[in-house]
């Protein structure tokens, strides 16, 4: 044997073969494969016992349950938010916003974890302890009160009916500032219209029992009231083999509602109210109205000095003229009206516009008048008055909320229009603002004019944001206080818009993602306690739980209520309605409104001036009657702004409040967001052709309020002469999954005040569209 190269090679080859004959190589191969099945960067969720806990989402008013996993090591985690199958309205259904809430809740990168302060000198953000933060805030408030300038405090909140907002109102009242406003909501408009015509604020539509529904521009099947309950009602009409309910939708776009409707009456933008009036006119002319119900009403026939609804409608809303003006075929309008009049349980529905704005009060009054002509008030499948929600008022707040005030700017700054309030503060007339308290609602994004709000924040010396998230409002704040997410803390919400029955929902701490966060209400209570004196007396509760227990006393045992988390009026109120109007009847002519305004004005001349100042175009004759006001945006048309911008609502986006979630972004169709996160706007091909625009072109949509950069999508279902843009996109916060996706509709929306109600509206905005 020779030890040479060849011998060595043979030994080596043998060795290699030998190693392969052992399990080493094969096991290594197997294990490295198993390694790919267990990459350390792929999370492994911990198993555990499953439990369920009920709560009610304050964002949508829907009853949900969280599915909790009780992990031995990781503790209790919420893994799902599902519909609560026991809830009589939701029946287990859920909306995307709620079922994906955990994505925001658990995202450490976007939550406020401790109180934060912006260092005035350096602009740096520094963490504070809670006592420091509360001292800072209460010190600032106390100083303003001491200086005798409590009105320098402005507070903006979300949902005036929530306990948090009630506490906020009490605090502001105790401080002596009238400047509280809330996210504008169609509930206020319906309450005002109801008050003017029926003396009732809590109206609802009995959709589930109706067999004929005509909706005036409100996105019934996109986002209306409790979206789950509305869909359940809709689904009940779609029976087999024949539909059991008929849906007619009046609006300028082939929306989901329009498409799923049995009839889509495509009208010119903003003319829905005029069509309601024309339907009234046709019913009266054809004698198709409920003689008995109308006979029992006030203001139908002329009465003394007051013009009657009948003669006013017949004179001002002739069918041909309205049909032509609204751009709908008269035959269709006529058929719709006749079908409506003949249907057994027909109801006309008004509600928030596509942008989620509060809607137009006179349109609402016209729709209520149409229902009155149909004689469906208090009847199954008609307009109902909700049962009273037996909530105990929390101190002085009761005065502020029970009867929504008319908030027209002409009536002074004592109002509920955050936009008008911000504009007034910006001009410094009658005075400027020193401290801005943002309690939820993310006004810096939701606006309604995001630009105006941001300007206000920049101009205000001390901005405080109470928010669970590092959102757009936190970004402008000098002091950020971490509040709980609704799955983490105490709070409540009341009946959603248009619900036929009263309901109440609690939300309570089910899990804790941010240990430092406090309930927004509790922060207010702590501030009040620190301030002492009047505020401390006005807000005597230990914590929000106690305030909730006090408020909901009449609903039974609080612990039981909290476990169930909701209360719903058992049966709708059918039968005779008590009209709390001056006449004690349904008022086609609103005597209540007339009395209120003439009381303030003093004499008829001043009244006429006041009415004109409130933006009512029809003069004194029309001011107290349901009628149609042309949309303000129409005035801007033609001044280099040839198109009207309207929002596209969807449950895949949101209408303010909480932000859109990552999963919602994920399910956005490419008709809303496309091509690396670009906003998509819809235009009719004919309109686009006139502007030499093609599918996929990038454009700038300009209004006097601001602009949007977007991609054009040609959609046959879009009314010519209009641009439709999704609402709820374009956040600048909430992490990489949500931020910079499209653009914020509220940057371009021009906000005006609704005639008479004075609420902000931003349904239509005149814009120009230019290729970029």
């Amino acid at each position: 044997m020779q030890w040479d190269r060849r011998a060595f090679i043979k030994l080596a080859v043998g060795g290699v073969l030998g190693v392969h004959a052992s399990p080493l190589v094969w096991k290594l191969m197997d294990d490295s494969t198993i390694w790919t099945q267990n990459w350390s960067w792929v999370p492994v969720p911990e198993d555990g016992e499953v439990a369920f806990a009920n709560t009610v989402s304050p964002q949508t008013g829907n009853a949900v349950q969280t599915r909790l996993v009780l992990g031995r090591v990781d503790g209790t985690r919420a893994i799902r938010v599902e519909g609560n199958p026991d809830h009589p309205l939701g029946k287990g259904g859920v909306v995307p916003e709620d079922s994906s809430a955990l994505q925001l809740l658990y995202n450490d990168d976007i939550r406020v974890k401790t109180p934060l302060m912006r260092d005035k000198a350096t602009g740096r953000i520094v963490p504070l302890s809670w006592p420091e933060a509360l001292d800072l805030l209460s010190g600032n408030l106390a100083e303003l009160v001491k200086k005798g300038k409590p009105e320098g405090i402005m507070a903006l909140g979300h949902d005036p009916d929530s306990t948090t907002s009630q506490l906020l109102m009490s605090l502001m009242a105790a401080l002596g500032s009238p400047n509280v406003a809330f996210t504008p909501d169609a509930r206020e408009t319906l309450a005002l219209a109801g008050l003017a015509t029926m003396g009732q604020t809590d109206l609802g539509f009995d959709l589930a029992n109706a067999d004929f529904v005509v909706s005036f521009g409100t996105p019934l099947l996109e986002n209306f009231g409790n979206p789950v309950a509305t869909r359940k009602a809709f689904a009940s009409w779609r029976a087999y083999p024949k539909n059991s309910g008929y849906l007619a939708q009046i609006e300028p776009r082939a929306s989901v509602t329009a498409s799923q409707a049995d009839l889509w009456l495509a009208c010119n933008p903003g003319t829905e109210g005029a069509l309601a009036m024309a339907m009234c006119a046709i019913m009266i002319q054809e004698g198709l109205y409920d003689q008995q119900a109308v006979g029992a009403a006030f203001g139908f026939e002329d009465e003394g000095d007051f013009p009657g609804f009948k003669s006013y409608v017949l004179k001002n809303y002739p069918r041909e003229q309205v049909a032509a003006m609204a751009g709908v075929p008269l035959s269709k309008l006529l058929k719709l009206t006749l079908d409506f009049a003949k249907a057994k349980r027909a109801v006309a529905v008004c509600g928030p516009g596509p942008s989620g704005g509060p809607g137009r009060m006179y349109d609402f009054m016209a729709v209520l008048a149409l229902n009155a002509l149909k004689g469906n008030i208090g009847k199954p499948g008609g307009v109902l008055v909700q049962g009273e929600l037996p909530l105990k008022p929390l101190g002085e707040a009761s005065l502020a909320t029970k009867v929504p005030p008319l908030v027209n700017p002409a009536l002074g700054l004592d109002q509920n229009n955050p936009h008008a309030m911000a504009e007034a503060a910006l001009t410094g007339k009658p005075y400027g603002i020193n401290t801005l308290l943002l309690v939820g609602g993310n006004f810096m994004y939701n606006g309604p004019s995001a630009g105006t709000m941001q300007k206000l924040a920049r101009q205000t010396p001390f901005v405080v944001a109470i928010t669970p998230f590092l959102d757009e409002s936190a970004a402008v704040a000098d002091l950020v206080l971490p509040s709980t997410h609704w799955l983490e803390g105490w709070g409540d919400s009341v009946s959603p818009f248009g619900s036929p029955v009263a309901s109440y929902g609690l939300h309570l701490p089910l899990i804790k993602a941010v240990p430092e966060a406090k309930d927004a209400g509790e922060i207010l209570l702590s501030v009040a306690a620190r301030l002492g004196g009047k505020p401390a007396k006005a807000l005597p509760y230990k914590n929000v739980e106690e305030a909730l227990a006090v408020r909901s006393e009449a609903l039974g045992d609080f612990e039981k209520l909290a476990e169930q988390s909701y209360w719903v009026q058992e049966k709708p109120n059918y039968g005779a309605i008590q009209f709390n109007t001056p006449s004690g009847k349904f008022e086609f002519f609103s005597l209540g409104l007339f009395k209120l305004l003439s009381g303030r004005a003093g004499n008829p001349t001043a009244l006429a001036q006041m009415v004109a100042g409130m933006g009512v175009s029809g003069g004194l004759e029309a001011a107290f009657l349901p009628h149609w006001e042309p949309p303000a945006a129409a005035d801007d048309l033609g001044t280099g702004m040839p198109l009207l911008l309207q929002a596209v609502p969807s449950l895949r986006t949101t209408w303010g409040g909480d932000a859109i979630t990552p999963y919602m972004v994920k399910v956005l169709p490419d008709t809303m967001l496309a091509d690396k996160d670009k906003l998509v706007v819809e235009m009719n091909p004919a309109t686009a052709h006139e502007l030499h625009l093609y599918e996929g072109d990038m454009v700038r949509v300009d209004s006097t309020a601001g602009s949007l950069i977007a991609k054009v999508h040609l959609f046959e279902g879009a009314s010519p002469g209009m641009v439709f843009a999704p609402v709820g996109l374009g956040h600048q916060a909430f992490g990489f999954q949500v931020a910079d996706k499209g653009m914020n509709f509220n940057n371009a929306a021009k906000v005006t005040s609704d005639p008479m109600s004075g609420l902000p509206i931003w349904e239509l905005t005149a814009v120009s569209v230019e290729k970029v």
Binding site: M29, T33, T36
Partner: protein
């Protein structure tokens, strides 16, 4: 004083490794030539590292174009590499010994194509480390399983078939064991030729079957005529038609680049004739299949031909595949005159190969591009630079192996005699 590099020319002198009786270029020129494949391989390496480390998001493939340029190249080179098995088959089994002068080249090219394809497939799958699941947990119903098994085993067969050529290297053959081995291998080569034919036949078919069995993808699903999936046979047929062309074409290119005659023109003409007759028969069957598909199969799925061709994947693809690069080269190759002319023969063969490669492109990309759901969007696809990098592996690897083989191995037995002067 000797400097360290003074000896380099001596070491670099590799002439003792060159095949007997041939002349090869100087080592430094060869090194320069090597730069080309090495550059391509460097490009490949960049792409491969990116794809393996960051995932297949580095490509432009997506859920609609689940297969991309890699599969196209894979299918094309495997089809073109079919020259190996078919020439071996004709040479060893049918006994067409006239092909002997080109068999080595055919095997070499086949080897390059198959090994290149396997390497590329290793990157194409999302979990390369789990690649062996296809063997260990094989699903015997899957055409892809068949492809994986056959390609791998055939690559091994090709290696064995290539081995004698390697062992016949002037220096290697001096080792007595290798010499014996080479001799023994030569005598049993018919066994491997048979095995290779069997394996190759089936996986060429399986590759076609891969598309044919997609019965819910109307472009790919070809059936009727009593046999399903038809693509099984179409792919074999087209591969054996193009394979000889490709082999000959590469030989012709080598001749032009090296300036040396490598085989007699008769051999090339014979290869061309084989290609031509097979191509004509293939085109007949392919045309019949297309007609059946257009008039029977598609309407049964509620579709028409118009649904199948959207720009950029328009009708032009069909005319190019079936006409310009199908029937035309087929008819050209049938002409003795064409075959006699070096230039025309080359052109016809190039067109043949283009046609078959185009066919593989169409089956991969167009099958996937066509939305089946009537409300689906139509998308098109362009590979990313990383994908091209990986695809250039076949070329880089192929050039490298081919250049080394040409330089050191007796690939062309006729070369010494043809270049005697």
């Amino acid at each position: 004083m000797r400097r360290w590099f003074d000896d380099l020319p001596k070491y670099a002198d590799d002439s003792s490794w060159h095949p007997k009786g041939v002349k090869r270029c100087r080592p430094e020129i060869f090194l320069l030539w090597l730069g080309l494949p090495l550059t391509l391989l460097a490009y490949f390496t960049v792409g491969a590292v990116l794809c393996l480390a960051l995932g297949l998001n580095q490509t432009n493939m997506n859920d609609y174009f689940a297969f991309g340029v890699w599969i196209v190249v894979d299918l094309a080179v495997i089809a073109l590499g079919a020259g190996a098995f078919f020439t071996s088959f004709l040479n060893y089994i049918v006994g067409k010994t006239e092909l002997k002068p080109i068999v080595n080249a055919a095997v070499l090219i086949g080897f390059i194509c198959y090994v290149g394809a396997i390497l590329m497939l290793g990157i194409d799958i999302g979990q390369p480390i789990r690649g062996w699941f296809g063997f260990w947990h094989a699903n015997v119903h899957s055409m892809l399983t068949e492809v994986m098994f056959c390609i791998t085993t055939y690559a091994i067969v090709l290696t064995i078939e290539l081995l004698p050529t390697v062992l016949d290297n002037k220096r290697i053959s001096r080792v007595p064991e290798f010499g014996t081995m080479s001799h023994n291998l030569h005598t049993i080569m018919i066994v491997f030729a048979a095995a290779g034919t069997f394996l190759s036949f089936f996986h060429q078919g399986s590759l076609g079957g891969m598309f044919g069995v997609l019965y819910a993808r109307p472009f790919a699903a070809r059936g009727g005529l009593g046999i399903w999936p038809w693509t099984f046979f179409l792919f074999i047929w087209s591969a054996i038609a193009a394979g000889p062309s490709f082999t000959t074409m590469i030989v012709m290119i080598t001749e032009k680049v090296s300036g040396r005659k490598l085989t007699t023109h008769n051999v090339k003409m014979l290869m061309g004739k084989i290609s031509g007759y097979l191509l004509v028969s293939y085109m007949l069957v392919k045309s019949a299949d297309t007609a059946w598909w257009v008039w029977v199969k598609l309407p049964s799925m509620g579709l028409t031909m118009d649904d199948m061709y959207h720009n950029p994947y328009g009708y032009w693809l069909m005319w190019f595949e079936l006409g310009l690069f199908g029937w035309l080269p087929a008819l050209m190759l049938l002409q003795e005159k064409v075959r006699e002319s070096y230039g025309w023969l080359f052109l016809a063969m190039l067109m043949t190969c283009t046609g078959v490669a185009l066919n593989r492109f169409i089956f991969t990309i167009q099958s996937l591009a066509l939305p089946v759901l009537p409300f689906e969007k139509f998308y098109s696809y362009l590979p990313s630079w990383q994908e091209w990098g990986i695809a250039s592996l076949v070329l880089g690897f192929g050039l490298l192996v081919y250049m080394l083989a040409y330089r050191y191995l007796p690939v062309f037995p006729q070369e010494p005699e043809l270049n005697d002067k």
